[in-house]
Symmetry: C2
Subunit: 200 residues, 2 copies
């Protein structure tokens, strides 16, 4: 990966370039799949020499790790915001669901690459897995609070959390920016479906 510079302007420019690369990578991943996309395909999409691409990301795995770390940091920030507010559990769960769908589909480039933790090597894999576990815990906690308050029916919070997360994560496989609905609209429909599904 590119050497970090002490100059914040340089850091900012590198970050912008990386986001541009991820945008291009997303488009190629959608067309060709994660597995059959190589660094050469991403460079071609950018009209960039592949050597130049290697300056920003050493290999595809480093690029995937960067996407996933960025995604999970965004999701963990969202979880902190949602936890802070004092709404009842059902309203908090709806906010978390909507925010998740928006973040995955509009907030951060990378699309399909968000989810492929299996594609990562150590130490990235461990780190991303730990972040993911922490994020999943937020769902279980809200479900447990809602059950304790009698707002939600009794379910296995682990299974329910994973079923909800599955519905949300899968949106990156089918959401299209030009599909006639915004990510927020899709997020709200998911929230309606899934929050109703757990109500007492």
């Amino acid at each position: 990966m590119v050497q970090t510079s002490a100059d914040p302007r340089v850091q900012q420019k590198v970050l912008e370039k990386k986001r541009e690369i991820l945008d291009a990578a997303s488009r190629v991943f959608r067309r060709r799949g994660l597995q059959s996309t190589g660094m050469r395909d991403i460079a071609a999409e950018l009209g960039m020499a592949v050597g130049n691409l290697y300056y920003y990301f050493k290999d595809k795995e480093e690029l995937l790790a960067f996407v996933q770390e960025g995604t999970l940091e965004g999701l963990l920030d969202l979880a902190v915001q949602v936890r802070k507010n004092r709404l009842p559990a059902d309203a908090r769960l709806a906010l978390l669901i909507e925010g998740h769908v928006v973040l995955l589909n509009e907030g951060i480039p990378g699309s399909l690459a968000h989810l492929e933790v299996e594609a990562l090597r150590e130490p990235w894999r461990r780190k991303v897995q730990d972040q993911r576990d922490a994020y999943e815990r937020t769902f279980r906690e809200i479900l447990e609070e809602g059950m304790a308050a009698g707002v939600f029916r009794q379910t296995d919070p682990k299974v329910t959390a994973m079923a909800i997360l599955g519905a949300l994560n899968w949106t990156v496989k089918w959401f299209r920016p030009d599909g006639g609905k915004t990510a927020l609209e899709i997020g709200r429909e998911c929230a309606e479906l899934l929050v109703r599904g757990v109500m007492a």
Copy 2:
């Protein structure tokens, strides 16, 4: 791929061997991810020479195509069974959800490989995509019937179908046979969550 033999006993043996290979491939996919698993890793898991593995599958893509075709044939059979019966829409949706989770997690080896249509080349990709579209249509039809009958609330059947399918497909990422619950139990909990979510 292995040459088809006219002898049904030979065909049966080849099919059994292919299933054994898929079982082994599933284990390696879970450990290393789809992307970083090579034919060599699968052969090693089987204690088989890689040349012998190539006798059954020309490359990893052919193996993935075989898994996905098998999965979708199973799901399409399930859809036919569910459509045939005369239960109300909510009961049919529950049956389809339960059957889907069981089939993906117990019925057919391959686990993670079921879902990676992006990893396929043409003509497999087109074929699998067509089968998948046909299967998704079954969900939309049941949703539309339930809405017309007043059993289900009014939703966008496309978004609802994809949210439901996401929850179900994602189970292959987290279901573990030794996790304390059967695939059928997980399927029932998913059905409870998702059918409640669409009820009027």
